[in-house]
Symmetry: C2
Subunit: 122 residues, 2 copies
DNA sequence: ATACTATATTCATAATCTTGAATATAGGTG
DNA sequence: CACCTATATTCAAGATTATGAATATAGTAT
């Protein structure tokens, strides 16, 4: 396995729109699967499949806290690469960054950071 | 097509060991197909196939000069991305850079840059 | 025009990727 | 233990990619 094989293996692991979206979510630090599910509006099994691809490529690792599994990027150098993409594709991301505050997300991290919409009783 | 689709399309185009090697050869500027053939020791038809992939992805373009077609990278930003790869894969390239001087290569650029081995007449 | 050279295209098959559906598992809670 | 919740795995079919072989084409030179 030469230099280019190693590089193409890595690139193949991230050459996928959902996996790129997941990595972007992990920019702010570790997040649980259910948060990705709520943020990306994709089914849990599918996200888990993509996470396994990233894990086998040794790009992410996970940590359990109670019921939740929190994933994080192992090598922050990956973000330096991701940052070069907009200038190449010419498509700039609309949202400046992923913000961790999603009212649809049931995970503990979201629960503490979000002001839940109050149900008004009449 | 969202931001991540555009990015993954680009990444897929370069996620291939031969295409990465071709891009590396093009760091020094345009090169003809026969030069890649000699440098990579791969068959012409195969290299041409990979060049078509890069061309369709609008990463390279070509220019004819006599019999030879010279390919070049359109967006130099690509090299900034390629430069981030060694720190991620942990595998550093052996040769510092591609040098254009290959005695096996019949192309005009090589012919002028290389001191051909002299045949000693006895 | 003919022949040659450099490069491109077509075809076919094996391998790999994509993705949805269904199901399994592991850990926590009562 | 029984059940719930969060996450993982397996399966399968279709799509795409990888790659070798054979062949075509477009310029060039004579």
């Amino acid at each position: 396995m030469n230099v280019y094989d190693a590089q193409s293996d890595f690139l193949k692991a991230i050459s996928h729109s959902t996996r790129l979206a997941i990595l972007d979510i992990l920019r702010d630090g570790e997040q649980c699967v259910c948060h990705m599910e709520a943020t990306l509006n994709l089914r849990q099994a599918y996200i888990s499949q993509q996470l396994m691809v990233l894990k086998q490529a040794e790009l992410v690792d996970s940590r359990r806290d109670g019921l939740n599994l929190y994933y994080r990027v192992i090598k922050p150098e990956i973000f330096a690469l991701l940052d070069t993409l907009p200038s190449i594709t010419g498509v700039l991301p609309k949202k400046p960054k992923h913000k961790h505050a999603n009212a649809e997300c049931p995970c503990p991290k979201c629960a503490e950071g979000v002001v839940k919409p109050q149900l008004i009783q009449i």
